[in-house]
Amino acid sequence: MKVQAIALNTFREAVRDRILTSVLAFALLLIAASAILASLSIGQEGKIVKDLGLASSSLFGTFIAIFLGIGLVSKEIERRTVYTIIAKPVHRFQFLLGKYIGLVLTLLVTVGVMVLLVVGLAWAVDGHWTPGLLAAAGLDFLALMIVTAVAILFSTFSTPTLSAIFTLAIFVIGRLSGDLRWFAEQFAGPGLRRAIQVLYLILPDLSRFQIGPQVVHGLPLSTAGIVWAALYGVVYILVLLLLAIGVFQRRDFK
């Protein structure tokens, strides 16, 4: 109940933030514009609308996740609004979970609207539904939840600027995972290859959550692959949240 109260409050804060609505409006505009761009092609409108649409919602979602996530805890500490919460009978982990769930809820609504627009545009262009789009967006959302958890972890002990840099770096490395490994195999010496392998195993492999290309090409989706990716995602999020709780539990609010 307390986690819920904090989560809804976090959601309310995000929704009342004018920056969020502006970014969402801009994203929707861009996605709509992709339909116009797609008309430059000779018959591949469907693919272009879906590719651009999914990429836009993913990127904008990530941008919002990082932008809001890095300040989730540090802003409360800096502005001392955290005093009001922690001085009450609320466990610190309840506070953290509430903030995380609140942000995830915000993203669900924001990205959800974007994805609905993409699905609608795809239907208008193709003339038929592509249900795989929802699966692709859903799996990508799990990757988004991972990035959010990374941001909140950094937020518990670092300044917003540093948190943004680190979270962005992990996002980029995470998305390049597959390519990085290929790169390592092709070019790197044994030492570098080892380092990249270790990095690959520890850092989140966000490329596992990309089934967009398969959906867009109409290729069959591997249910097992999706389930394993989902499991990986959930476990990774748990690890990040536990780390965040560990750090936050011992923090002095000066």
């Binding site: 307390k2 309310r12 001392r80 009001t84 922690i86 009978p89 609010f253």
Partner: protein
Amino acid sequence: MDPVIEIEGLCKDFRVGFWRRRTRVLHDLNLTVHRGEIFGYLGPNGAGKTTTLKLLTGLILPTAGSARLLGRDVTLVATKQQIGFLPETPYFYDYLTGREFLDLCGQLFGLPTPVRRDRIARLLALISLEQAADRQLRKYSKGMLQRLGLAQALINDPSLVILDEPMSGLDPLGRKAMRDIILQLKAEGRTIFFSSHILPDVEVLCDRVGILVGGRLRGVGRLDEILTAQTESVELILERVSPDLAVLLQDLAQGPLLSRPDGVLVRLPDQERADQALRAAVEAGARVVGVAPQRLTLEDHFLREVQGHTP
């Protein structure tokens, strides 16, 4: 008189500066506050008052020692169910309205909806914020925020109320209202522990005071005892003072006599000499215009304790 706050050997270190040097901010604090009393926690800036309050409310973890509130250790979350806390210069979520904010606080105490609704209505009336209740907090003045802060400290009907500089940001009307509320809380049987700079308010409100200087507690005691125990000089104002009387008076006063429009001012260092001076004056036929015992103010006591510490 069961203890509501029990602090034993409480110490706090901070890591300060680039080299993260360990600095002790609170030294072996021992303090007990009893049920139903108003305790004033005084001290100069940087003495560690706010640090103590944050330790009591779990915002900071102690380095050594312990503290118990209402018999339960401060580090436990359940302890805070019966505590109300008003932080210094309160910061609240400015995108919420006053009502929404109080509702959130109520939810964090686990209060059911009808209870919350009822208490919020009563508290808003108490702090005279009914009009502004549905305005966003970013539009509140400092005084309004302070009053709202008091409301959120009372929403759970606490038996112990901890206030950090409750008078800050309030105009004289606000301060009077706050004083009245604090006295009312005491009348309802609650215990109040607050830190303050404004000594006149403390003099009016507190049963006991303690002065924190450089992280060490000194001068703890009942206010009336502290002040009456150190009644200082007595001032006499006399007319028709003859030269002989003047010499005698100067001798008793151990200081010069002051000539004032309404007469001669004689400052006697204690009650005994004052009595002697009075008798001598009456016998010499002088006219007594005024007798004024100069009670030690809390400010004097405070300054003495603080200056006694600083080298």
